[in-house]
């Protein structure tokens, strides 16, 4: 009995010390972890973290003329590129690289979708969009609609576009973003892939960002 009592006298300070040690160790570990994840963030090119922009409802039309909004991007990883079909140089190169990357990624990522969003509502009718995107990959989604519809998406993503040399009535050009935007299954814009676009770079950047986001949840 005496022995046990004397033990318990020691037990309380011992426990207190242990608790302090454990707390400081825990604190140390959590600091260490946050340092590591901070480091990871700064090392991931194109990642928007810790405050990715939440995409709100938008309303555009897909290449079959059906409505396309927030519900169609939820639950999927989306690559979105803003361009126009009458752009003969930068857009086809970007579309080809996206299609090539998709072909390699889709085996391990069945929740991936490729989106081409037109910033040229005047010329890019659903019919032209449909032929345009399917030329690069039949799974490609083409988005368009009225100018107002398109800005419901571009405004949120923060991409600008404007008509260039409007004096050329038919052959006008459109200045637009050259980046590919990455939206996660929760509808958050978590990354931006900057040009020049290359297949291996896109695959590597996407995989890194996706793994990082999955670790956060």
């Amino acid at each position: 009995m005496l022995n046990k009592l004397s033990n318990s006298k020691f037990l309380i300070p011992a426990m207190a010390i242990l608790a302090m040690l454990a707390t400081s160790a825990g604190f140390y570990i959590s600091v260490k972890q946050s340092q590591q994840s901070q480091q990871a963030v700064s090392n991931i090119e194109g990642l928007f973290w810790p405050n990715p922009k939440q995409i709100n409802e938008f309303s555009v039309l897909d290449q079959d003329g059906n409505g396309f909004g927030l519900n169609q991007i939820k639950g999927k990883w989306s690559f979105i590129f803003f361009g126009y079909s009458h752009c003969p140089d930068v857009c086809p190169v970007t579309m080809s690289v996206m299609a090539d990357s998709y072909k390699e990624l889709v085996g391990d990522n069945n929740d991936l979708q490729l989106i081409f969003a037109s910033v040229d509502p005047e010329r890019d009718t659903p019919e032209i969009l449909s032929q345009y995107v399917s030329y690069f990959n039949p799974d490609f989604i083409g988005l368009g609609g009225t100018n107002e519809m398109i800005t419901s998406l571009t405004g949120q993503i923060g991409v600008a576009y404007y008509l260039n040399n409007e004096n050329q009535a038919e052959d006008y050009l459109v200045d637009h973003s050259a980046s590919i935007f990455l939206i996660d299954p929760l509808g958050r814009m978590v990354g931006k892939l900057s040009p020049p676009h290359e297949k291996n770079k896109i695959i590597q950047q996407f995989t890194t960002i996706k793994n990082f986001i999955n670790e956060q949840s």
């Binding site: 009458h86 030329y135 260039n164 973003s177 980046s179």
Partner: protein, 162 residues
């Protein structure tokens, strides 16, 4: 006899050298390689063309216009990346420096080819006529190709196709 023969031979060689260099300056100072047109979805009315333009002479040469019987209009453009924004800037002319090569390639300088006279598919060819500031013209055939990505462009393909 030998000395006379030697003299004639030297004169003969000199004449060949002289005349061939004169020939080079006037006609074949400019040469083209890897001229190709990027295949596009069949409904599109604008295509892009690319080539390497070599200037073998010791003077700069200026390309002032390009035309084609297969397109309604050809313009020279450059894709310019400004921050995140990309735009195309029309070029009124292009200078090819002396003893140098000017490369027209995806994402940079290119030909804008408007309204093809028929849908162009991989393997088809189109005629391009280049006019230079010294008054000479050069006509080449460009092959329509589908080059899938940046990762394997120009050099490799030119070996396959030419």
């Amino acid at each position: 006899m030998n000395k006379v023969n030697l003299f004639l031979l030297i004169t003969f060689i000199f004449q060949i050298l002289f005349s061939s260099s004169a020939f080079t300056n006037e006609n074949v100072a400019v040469s083209f390689s890897d001229a190709w047109i990027s295949e596009a979805p069949p409904t599109l009315s604008v295509l892009a063309g690319y080539a390497n333009i070599h200037n073998a002479s010791d003077k700069p040469i200026t390309l002032i216009s390009v035309s084609s019987p297969n397109f309604s209009k050809v313009e020279i453009h450059r894709s310019v990346l400004n921050g995140d924004m990309v735009s195309m800037e029309k070029q009124e002319s292009l200078e090819i420096p002396a003893k140098n090569t000017l490369t027209l390639s995806p994402g940079d300088l290119h030909l804008m080819l408007f309204d093809p006279d028929k849908p162009l598919r991989s393997g088809d060819t189109a005629t391009l006529n280049f006019s230079f500031s010294d008054g000479h013209n050069q006509t080449i055939e460009a092959k329509v190709e589908r080059r899938t990505s940046h990762d394997h462009s120009s050099e490799d393909h030119s070996h396959h196709h030419h």
